[in-house]
Symmetry: C2
Subunit: 379 residues, 2 copies
Amino acid sequence: MQVSQLLEGQPAQPAATTASGSLHAAGELSLWLGQLRQRVAAVLAGYVRDRCAEYVRDVPGAGFVTDLLTEFVPGGKYVRSTFTYLGWLSGADESGAAVRAAASTELLHAFALLQDDVMDQSGTRRGRPAAHLRLAEWYRSQGLDGPAARFGESAAVLLADLCLVWAGQLLRDSGLPAAALARGWPRYDTLRGELAVGQFADLVNDARSQPSLDAVLDVTRRKSGNYTVRRPLELGAALAGCDEPTLAVLGAYGTLVGEAFQLRDDVLGVFGRPDVTGKPSGGDLRERKATSVVVLATELATPAQLAGLTRLSRREVVDEADILYWRQLITDTGAPARIEQMIGERVSTARGLLAGSGLPGFVRGALDDLAVLYTDRVR
Amino acid sequence: MQVSQLLEGQPAQPAATTASGSLHAAGELSLWLGQLRQRVAAVLAGYVRDRCAEYVRDVPGAGFVTDLLTEFVPGGKYVRSTFTYLGWLSGADESGAAVRAAASTELLHAFALLQDDVMDQSGTRRGRPAAHLRLAEWYRSQGLDGPAARFGESAAVLLADLCLVWAGQLLRDSGLPAAALARGWPRYDTLRGELAVGQFADLVNDARSQPSLDAVLDVTRRKSGNYTVRRPLELGAALAGCDEPTLAVLGAYGTLVGEAFQLRDDVLGVFGRPDVTGKPSGGDLRERKATSVVVLATELATPAQLAGLTRLSRREVVDEADILYWRQLITDTGAPARIEQMIGERVSTARGLLAGSGLPGFVRGALDDLAVLYTDRVR
């Protein structure tokens, strides 16, 4: 889902009630986000093209790999680079070097998506076949002799490795002063380490017959909450040399909004429209993911509802009618309503934190709007 | 294969004829290597334990993962850290910080092995089940509900990611001055990028019905030659601030010895004893790897020999008798003798380069001995 998609067709955002910042209308934030997005996209496109020319040039399949990466890496939502840059603006002025540093989080995200899609055996990403499937298709088209699916998965993991390496390289070569980078590296290391460990915990959770909601929320916090909002904000703020109180308020805001973001993603994974999510309808149900809404539904279900949910989750193949029925069962348990409430509580608390903070007005306004924008219902 | 294993049971090395260094007897080099190895091992053990305590602590399976990594990471041959440290000694004095920097290449190697074993579907590593199989076994032992083999592979890739991240972190936190690190990073990035791209090229090569020897040697150069000897030497030398002529001679030596090292590895992959290689006999034949000796055998084979080789390579299952016959056929083509000649030429040229270099005597002597030691027949 693109930021532009999120914004399109949305009702105008209400004026931020708790912030005294300058972004009281969605139009203004949208314009600013669009401009930042363009700057980050330009950095990524150039950087990936240059790195491919440097490393991938004379490998078999170089053209295909280069096209794939130059399309994939800049094709995301820019959530992490946006929060990193807002972290930066919490303690320093606009800077091209900081935009480059923020862009590095998108390369890190490309790494995570390429690998996760292999591990989750996801078929689609952003409305297209996932990268490992496209690599397998290329392999077949070359008439190569071997298992194409296996090749696609290995190749996608290797391209993920390149993105991980290049992410660190882009941050280091961003043009930020050495002292700024020295403040940023520990945050960056934490971000990367938590990401891998969070995905590990997720694999174990998916496998358990029945993880508890607490276990799922713990993974949510580790993997998505921290990784999507909190750590990027802290990284940007650390690079900018923000003081501890500023880092603390950004961290607390990031934890809350990151969780709300992931909870929204979980709701969309069950109820989202394919044209919004870029995935088939009921994608998380098809992949049998143990997300917050799925797990909460089983916790709240009556014995009859639980029997229905269990039957569906054990079915080898599910069709559209199954998905519709499955959704209805989940809705009937009351789980989606409870998740909406949890999202609302987190967003509201996060906005309250901003109101009492000493963050610059622009940042406060932007974070206030983004807390709503990134966690709002889009069906 | 451990350095100590390489050394055990070897005839005493001949006095280095071309070097005026101080390591004219294998015993002295062995002592020095053993001490360096102990220092690197201590760094790795402590670093991995600390990082596991920091990141992995409260994840399901934390104990198992910590045990696995603290055993696996320091369990290698220490080839790369040794060459990195010798690169350092080419331009600077003994230094604990440089030992830590050199140790980081072993974490990088752990990353490569963990991932490669998944991609190559290798069953054993260092005489034990490969990490992804041990992770799958742990998964089964927990009674978790899901495909254990798939979990093992995903988990091994994630632990590899952690090793890749921690490798960069250890180099950065090695204690070397910022100016030294600034000289080292571009070399380090090249090393990591080439490694991933080399493995990609290897996947495509393995798949082609019949890659040429030139194509195989090209991958050898990229993936192993550069990665094992040349880039580590250059990294160490760059960290130490060596001048261009020194970097050039180390680079040329590294390319030659790295190729010889990989060619030896290819010979051992077909003819090596399991207690030396830590793999089943004829491991590369069992895995149908298109290595230099395998490919050269098909290029040199008579029509009758080629028919035999093709028949074996298409057999679903091969037993010990097949391996023995397969080896004999390969020997009869003359390929192993030609590979021995190629190894000899490279080692001899590399030693000649050292003789004419201005490298410090100790480094010259060590590199001279290592060129022989790491590429010698061990069956």
